[in-house]
Symmetry: none
Subunit: 226 residues, 2 copies
DNA sequence: AAAATATGTGACGAAAACGTCACATATTGA
DNA sequence: TCAATATGTGACGTTTTCGTCACATATTTT
């Protein structure tokens, strides 16, 4: 279960917020001043901190600063609670590493939503799904293509076609198979569509275009890099 | 053992062909009309289909079309059986994705030979790199998208955007993150570009578009299917 | 209820993607 | 060397994609 630490000196607000988080399935802890808050952060390392900026003992900025400096806390996300007027303060807070803020008065619902968003964002570590060959890299999640670490935008068909060829580098692919894979059918009829796409690809690839070899009578091949 | 499905309404021919394949070490199944044939294709996913074009219930073209659109069948090779005269029909069949044809009357020996050739060619199946979520499937190599096994063509941006959301299903992604991922920047300026793309996506997805939820004040989320 | 804010949508024009054709060029085999 | 065959390429028109705007609708706040 994910844990939330609420650092808020106004007891009513703390209770209200705490209640709402509990109702949404979070483990809630409350600290009523800055000193206590910081102690609990470092000791319990909650998954998220809701931090009022105006606090007795140690104010919110000081907490943010300390959190930043300490490895036990510097990656814990923080949502600030601020009064409506404190615009500069919010900016200062964001600079100090807070992830979000919400102005008083606020709706508990919105706070929960933001909290969820932040918690989940911090949880995702999407697996990179890349395919690399020589100077080429395909990011299959981003649908992005790189050549020597530089982005190069390929059209959908170009991406498909070149990925197909690169994944089978060293093997020549015959025209029918290419047509079938990329277009879903093989017309058998010889239009120059495939050639045109190869031409465009080679042009986009610049000097690396020479990786694409023509296998006369068969189709194309991407040369296996050394 | 490799399995062959023969879809042929003339019982004698079906038996003859079936016998010959069995003698050559294949697992044979027979369907006597189109409806039955299609059902068996989808259920059993044979390694090869021998398909008579003239069939009761559902004709051969319809079967080819449906096979193409359905992920469970679109890569299963097909050899058509056609009458000598039906030249146009053969072309039509090849366009629809059939791999080969043979004209009646034919020698079982020739049919077996062609079948062997096709099966051999199809044996190399590169590893599919798929991401699935509920009714959705992304083929990251083919850059193809499927909804309930049916292909649906998405534009590059739509593919990127929806894959991103689906891979983080259940978590709301805020507008900035989406902009940043899909467009590489987040201008902060509120144009309606993102919304427009979401609208188009929802429309293309049809009734499954309801999987995309709007999180007001945050961004969007793809609902976690049960 | 009215105002303020956020999201949804149809329409439009610009740009990119795409397929095809005619013709150029290259390769092969006789 | 000369056909025959295969691939390369520029140009063109069509279709799709894309971003933006104005305005509609929905939700929240005052």
């Amino acid at each position: 279960m994910e844990s939330i630490l609420i650092i808020e000196d106004e007891v009513d607000i703390a209770k209200l917020v705490g209640f709402n988080f509990e109702r949404n399935g979070y483990l809630v802890d409350i600290a009523h001043d800055g000193r206590e808050g910081l102690k609990k952060i470092l000791e319990n390392q909650p998954d998220l901190v809701i931090l009022d900026l105006m606090l007795p003992e140690i104010d919110g900025y000081k907490i943010l600063k300390k959190m930043q400096r300490d490895t036990r806390s510097h990656s814990i996300p923080v949502i600030m609670l601020t009064a409506k007027s404190q615009i500069d303060d919010r900016l200062k807070g964001l600079e100090l590493g807070a992830d979000d803020y919400i102005t008083k008065p606020f709706s508990p619902k919105e706070l929960i939503l933001r909290a969820k968003a932040i918690l989940k964002r911090n949880r995702v570590t999407p697996v990179a799904e890349d395919f690399s060959l020589g100077p080429f890299r395909f990011d299959k999640n981003a649908l992005a293509f790189f050549i020597n670490h530089e982005a190069l935008s390929l059209s959908l068909i170009e991406f498909r076609l070149f990925l197909f060829l690169c994944q089978r580098a060293g093997q020549s692919q015959d025209r029918n198979d290419l047509l079938k894979f990329v277009w879903g059918y093989s017309d058998e009829i010889h239009s120059r569509t495939l050639d045109t796409h190869m031409k465009r690809l080679r042009k986009k690839l610049g000097k690396e275009g020479s990786f694409i070899e023509t296998i006369r009578g068969i189709g194309y091949r991407v040369r296996q890099p050394e």
